[in-house]
């Protein structure tokens, strides 16, 4: 839309306009991600400190040490970058960027507000889950190529853990998708408009439980405590990160925080109403495109703020859990997944299915595929009208 505007208004070549807009979008997303990583690095230390009855960083940048992240970054950049002699150099260098790219690509399909999404994908949910799963590749490659036993152990644990937890995670994601009847994240978000009771997490008791399973699986798939066995500093020195230092190390960490934020955001959209607050403030104030374009934009901005807050709260909860719970053993991790999460998620799936189809009318208007046929969706229109083959 903007690219068209640029082309017609300023006569830029099309490729330049499109490329420029894409670049700007990427930069915005990168900025959000970097900012989030920096903020969370600081916050993690503060939260850890508070929970452990310490103060955490206090000096750098004033009262709360809020420039601590910058200081850390400078330190890491200045550190010597080591590559072990036995290591597989190419993969060793590649690994952090694989992780970071995966974490970043998630943001491409993540809507921040109504229509505020870099690439509006019809299969957004699947895309995000698939890309988020790619992050583990970096970890495994890093662990393998370090030519260190600790790293390899860490990487293998990570692989087993992530592959296992993708099953319940996928099931948990599918449940709200089933209720919503679409894979389009923007549509799912807009479906939960209105008061907070319209959020999918309150749609039925099964979805409520599903949300907590989702949160648990998110912890595991982003490799956070109590599931951070890949690092496990008490057993494996630093797991897959043992041989990394300096900038590459920091890239891994940015990827981790980035994906934490992204997964919290996904959870917010799927369960917690996305960019719609508990009170329909924007509607009350008349902030909609129907009134004026600027008002509508303001409403979207409010929604974006809402969304960022929810995702932020999710990350805060993750930190809270990290510094509260002890780390699990690897067999306990697998038990939690295969013996509890998977059956529970499957049961929730069945329960939601029964609830949605057995009960007449849930809290949300049903727009299941079968219902959609009755309402004559666009694809039932004659094909010739859509300019396809006759």
């Amino acid at each position: 839309m903007i690219a068209e505007y640029l082309t017609t208004r300023f006569g830029l070549p099309e490729w330049l306009a499109c490329g420029g807009v894409a670049l700007v979008q990427c930069l915005i997303l990168l900025g959000i991600m970097m900012f989030a990583a920096a903020l969370f690095t600081w916050m993690e230390r503060k939260v850890a400190g508070r929970i452990q009855d310490r103060l955490g960083p206090t000096r750098v940048g004033g009262r709360f040490g809020w420039l601590q992240s910058v200081a850390d970054g400078v330190k890491l950049l200045a550190k010597e970058d080591l590559i072990p002699g036995e290591a597989d150099g190419l993969l060793f260098r590649l690994a952090p960027y694989v992780s970071f790219c995966a974490a970043f690509c998630v943001y491409l399909a993540l809507p921040f507000s109504n229509g505020w999404v870099a690439q509006h994908l019809n299969v957004g949910v699947f895309f995000i889950v698939a890309i988020a799963g790619l992050e583990v590749f970096g970890v495994i490659l890093g662990g393998y190529s370090s030519a260190s036993k600790w790293s390899l152990y860490g990487a293998m644990r990570e692989a087993a853990q992530v592959v296992s937890y993708e099953v319940p995670l996928g099931l948990c994601v599918v449940i709200p998708v089933m209720v919503a009847g679409t894979l389009d994240l923007v549509a799912i978000g807009n479906m939960q408009r209105g008061w907070g009771v319209n959020w999918l997490v309150f749609h039925n008791p099964f979805l409520f439980i599903t949300f907590f399973i989702y949160a648990l699986c998110t912890l595991a798939s982003t490799n956070r405590a109590p599931f951070d066995l890949a690092e496990a500093e008490s057993e494996l020195v630093a797991g897959f990160l043992t041989e990394y230092s300096g900038f590459r190390w920091s890239v891994f960490f940015m990827a981790e925080y980035g994906s934490m934020y992204a997964m919290s955001g996904l959870g917010a959209i799927l369960f917690l109403g996305g960019w719609h607050g508990p009170i329909p403030l924007a509607e009350m104030l008349g902030l909609s495109y129907a009134n004026h374009a600027v008002l509508g934009w303001l409403g979207d901005l409010l929604g974006a703020g809402n969304f960022l807050c929810k995702a932020f709260l999710g990350v805060a909860a993750m930190m809270w859990l990290r510094w509260t719970l002890p780390r699990l053993r690897i067999d306990q991790v697998m038990t939690t997944c295969l013996k509890y999460c998977v059956p529970l998620a499957a049961a929730m799936f069945v329960g939601t299915m029964l609830w949605t189809y057995a009960l007449p009318g849930g809290l949300l208007p049903r727009s299941t595929p079968l219902g959609a046929v009755a309402e004559a969706p666009p694809w039932t229109a004659p094909r010739a009208a859509r300019g396809e083959r006759p």
Partner: protein, 205 residues
């Protein structure tokens, strides 16, 4: 006028083919896996370009997990030395190359043999935006209703008979059976000593 579709196609096709060749020439199993996943990810990009968004997402999702497991197995089963490679003789390379090359030539001939395949119908404009909404139709097709074939003249075919409910169920059951079978095959057993594993008697038979 730049054709974006062509641009992205060239990009993804290049990545796909290059990494596929890299899989062939690489000797290290982990690097092979990395190349493979790059190639497959690019294939999924091609799917997006061909207006198959759901298939693309599935490709990404399933092959990521699948290749990840491949990778892990590769690492675990070849972990005796840090980077084990198994060399083959140049004669083998030649044989394989000749066979593969002949097959490639054959396929290329076949791919370019039909004229209608070489002329794009409406590809001049970006088609993905229009055609890339296949999630719901595929879901309906798997439930046995072909919403893309509603104007089908034959009422028997239109009535959902042409749907994919039965194959879907068959594939589901097949997957279940395969999972059980794989778990059975891979169940933990007493590990034999290497000396027993390759008895001399069987070699001389």
């Amino acid at each position: 006028m730049i054709n974006w579709h062509t641009c992205f196609f060239l990009l993804f096709a290049t990545i796909t083919c290059a990494f596929a060749v890299a899989v062939v020439v690489s000797a290290n199993v982990v690097r092979m896996a990395v190349c493979l996943i790059a190639s497959l990810a690019a294939v999924s990009g091609l799917y997006f370009l061909a207006a198959a968004d759901f298939v693309a997402a599935m490709q990404l999702m399933i092959y990521v997990g699948g290749t990840l497991v491949l990778l892990v197995f590769g690492v675990m089963l070849t972990a005796r030395g840090p980077f084990v490679s198994m060399k083959i003789t140049p004669a083998n390379w030649l044989m394989a190359g000749l066979a593969g090359g002949a097959l490639l030539i054959l396929l290329l001939c076949a791919a370019t043999s039909v004229d209608a395949w070489k002329t794009a119908a409406v590809a001049a404009s970006a088609p993905a935006a229009e055609g890339g909404h296949t999630v719901a139709p595929i879901g309906m097709a798997l439930l046995g209703i072909r919403v893309d074939a509603l104007e089908q003249a034959n009422p028997a075919l239109r009535g959902g008979i042409a749907g994919y409910l039965l194959p879907f169920e068959i594939v589901s059951v097949h997957l279940l059976v395969v999972l059980v079978g794989a778990a059975h095959l891979a169940r933990a057993r007493r590990r034999r000593r290497p000396a027993e594993a390759v008895p001399d008697a069987s070699r001389s038979a």
